[in-house]
């Protein structure tokens, strides 16, 4: 008993520190949710109402019934969903190709693709804006879908390349002996084996477009195509900021994503690092 007791005392400072840091990290979430549950009168109280009692669902009512919230949410879902699907469709074979079928210059091409990820997106905003204006896609959903595919592709290729590199050579040889075509090998053997990795790639690609702001802000402007980030930013006006509906929207927009990604903890680390460090 004394040994465990001593161990516990030794660990106590660490726990105090961890809890303290956790509170700081979690505070913005706490504040987002409690603010969204406050009635208008408590919103600007000073000192603030830390916990609204009883909580009011007025803001959620407002957001869900009236207003453009549903349009933004729907746009976000369509844009992120479709662009992720297309990105995976193009990116998965490419990753497999880079990992398993190297050819002359494929190494350099791969590095260039990965480097695209580090591009400042603002340098693409001008040509995209001008181009979309010419083909009259400004403020329409396809504009964002088109803009997000090149955003996701490097991510998907980089991530999956790392996994396909670990794909056992014997499996590839066996498939070749069985007379499977390259495409058959990919669809019937490699993809089923890499399913968890593909899940992570989908998650990261989806999140990249779900959270994207600068293209959405430049290429869309009305609820007919604008996504959630643009919608949320729109609650900040020059005259006043509508914190109630804003925090309510942000809660609905953020929390499901948070839950899904946190469930996939291990995947996150692999997703961040690709094949760079074995996690």
């Amino acid at each position: 008993v004394t040994v465990t007791a001593r161990k516990a005392t030794a660990a106590l400072p660490s726990y105090v520190l961890l809890v303290l840091l956790s509170l700081i990290v979690l505070f913005p979430f706490f504040w987002m949710v409690t603010t969204s549950l406050k009635p208008e009168v408590d919103m600007f109280a000073s000192p603030p109402v830390w916990v609204p009692l009883p909580p009011s669902l007025d803001n959620y009512d407002n957001v869900l019934v009236g207003g453009d919230f549903r349009a933004y949410l729907q746009n976000s879902l369509i844009v992120a969903g479709v662009s992720t699907m297309l990105g995976m469709l193009i990116g998965t074979p490419a990753a497999f190709g880079f990992a398993r079928m190297p050819y002359r210059f494929s190494g350099i091409l791969f590095i260039i693709i990965v480097a695209v990820r580090m591009f400042p997106p603002i340098s693409l905003v001008i040509p995209y804006f001008m181009g979309m204006r010419t083909v009259e896609l400004i403020d329409r959903l396809p504009a964002l879908i088109i803009a997000y595919i090149p955003l996701e592709l490097p991510l998907i290729i980089w991530l999956l390349e790392g996994f396909f590199r670990d794909f056992p050579r014997e499996l590839q040889e066996a498939a070749e002996i069985d007379g499977l075509s390259t495409l058959g090998l990919l669809v019937r053997v490699a993809i089923p084996v890499a399913l968890p990795a593909i899940g992570i790639a989908v998650m990261f690609a989806f999140l990249a477009s779900w959270n994207e702001f600068i293209f959405a802000l430049s290429l869309t402007r009305t609820p007919s195509a604008a996504t959630m980030p643009v919608g949320i930013a729109g609650y900040i006006t020059n005259f006043r900021t509508f914190w109630g509906p804003m925090t309510a929207s942000a809660s609905i927009y953020t929390i499901p994503v948070l839950i899904v990604t946190l469930v996939a903890q291990r995947g996150i680390v692999r997703g961040l690092l690709g094949g760079a460090i074995k996690a």
Binding site: A45, P120, I122, L186, I236, T254, L258, L262
Partner: protein
């Protein structure tokens, strides 16, 4: 198999970049279209370099990148070390510390803007509880800069923590045991064994966070809009305003290419300096 992806990236990245590069050496006048399309060589670049706003933005961005990288690593290291000890309950803390990672920067910016508000903001009211009179964060030059740094720190530290943790997990356990047997103190182990071995992890953090911080837009745009004045305006925000507020498309292109150039030079520099002897995977 790589052809479709390459073709798409060629059309969607290489071509627009080339187009914008071409634009950056021509005139573009939306009001008088007949004056557009004139070849002006480096005139747009000269305009931008001569502009005080651009220099301010360049300075702000560099200052932001340097301070945020230092802060992020300084904050992330102790957290990663605490989590690496593997105390009971670590998975829960790990979950908590990685949660801001998936939050849209727009939402992060909005939350911090609300918390930094002067009268009803949570932060100044919390400070008042301990008897400190908080500054007018967002109206003050240094207050706004600090606010951007803090907000960004909240968003970006989790990435650093996770990468460091993964790096620590891959270290060979025997090395640490051997050091302990040889009587090395904790700080010696950290300084002479762990730190050098974490070089690949630190390299990844530096390269990724450097390029991310250099193009920072969302949180600045939402939290301060670049203000007060242009005290927190970063290069991305400057280029955005150049395009959509002042409609200087050609100059905006020129500025974005200077940004691109600096990013490339910086990342190559970091990789050169920090590359470990053995090649990274």
């Amino acid at each position: 198999l790589t052809v479709p992806a390459l073709a798409i990236l060629l059309v969607s990245v290489a071509y627009p970049i080339a187009w914008a590069l071409n634009l950056s050496v021509h005139t573009l006048d939306l009001v008088n279209p007949e004056k557009s399309g004139e070849f002006v060589a480096a005139a747009n670049y000269a305009d931008i370099v001569a502009s005080g706003d651009f220099r301010q933005a360049l300075f702000n961005t560099c200052a932001f990148v340097i301070t945020t990288l230092i802060l992020e690593i300084l904050v992330a290291f102790p957290i990663a070390l605490l989590l690496h000890r593997g105390l009971p309950g670590t998975p829960i803390f790990r979950l908590i510390f990685s949660s801001p990672l998936m939050v849209a920067p727009v939402v992060g910016g909005m939350l911090w803007q609300f918390m930094f508000a002067d009268q009803y903001g949570a932060i100044n009211n919390l400070l008042a509880v301990v008897g400190v009179r908080g500054p007018l964060w967002l109206a003050d030059v240094w207050g706004a800069r600090a606010a951007v740094l803090i907000g960004n720190l909240w968003l970006a530290t989790p990435f650093n923590v996770l990468v460091l943790l993964a790096g620590m997990a891959s270290l060979p356990e025997q090395l640490f045991e051997a050091a302990r047997i040889d009587g090395a103190r904790g700080d010696q182990v950290f300084r002479f064994i762990m730190l050098p071995l974490l070089r690949p992890a630190l390299l990844i953090i530096l390269v990724i966070r450097l390029t991310d911080a250099f193009r920072v837009f969302d949180i600045v745009y939402i939290l301060t809009g670049g203000g007060p004045g242009s005290a927190t305006q970063t290069l991305s925000v400057f280029v955005y305003k150049e395009i959509f507020t002042r409609l200087h498309f050609a100059q905006g292109s020129a500025a974005s290419f200077m940004m691109l150039g600096i990013t490339i030079v910086l990342s190559i520099f970091v990789i050169r300096v920090l590359r470990p002897k053995e090649e990274l995977a």
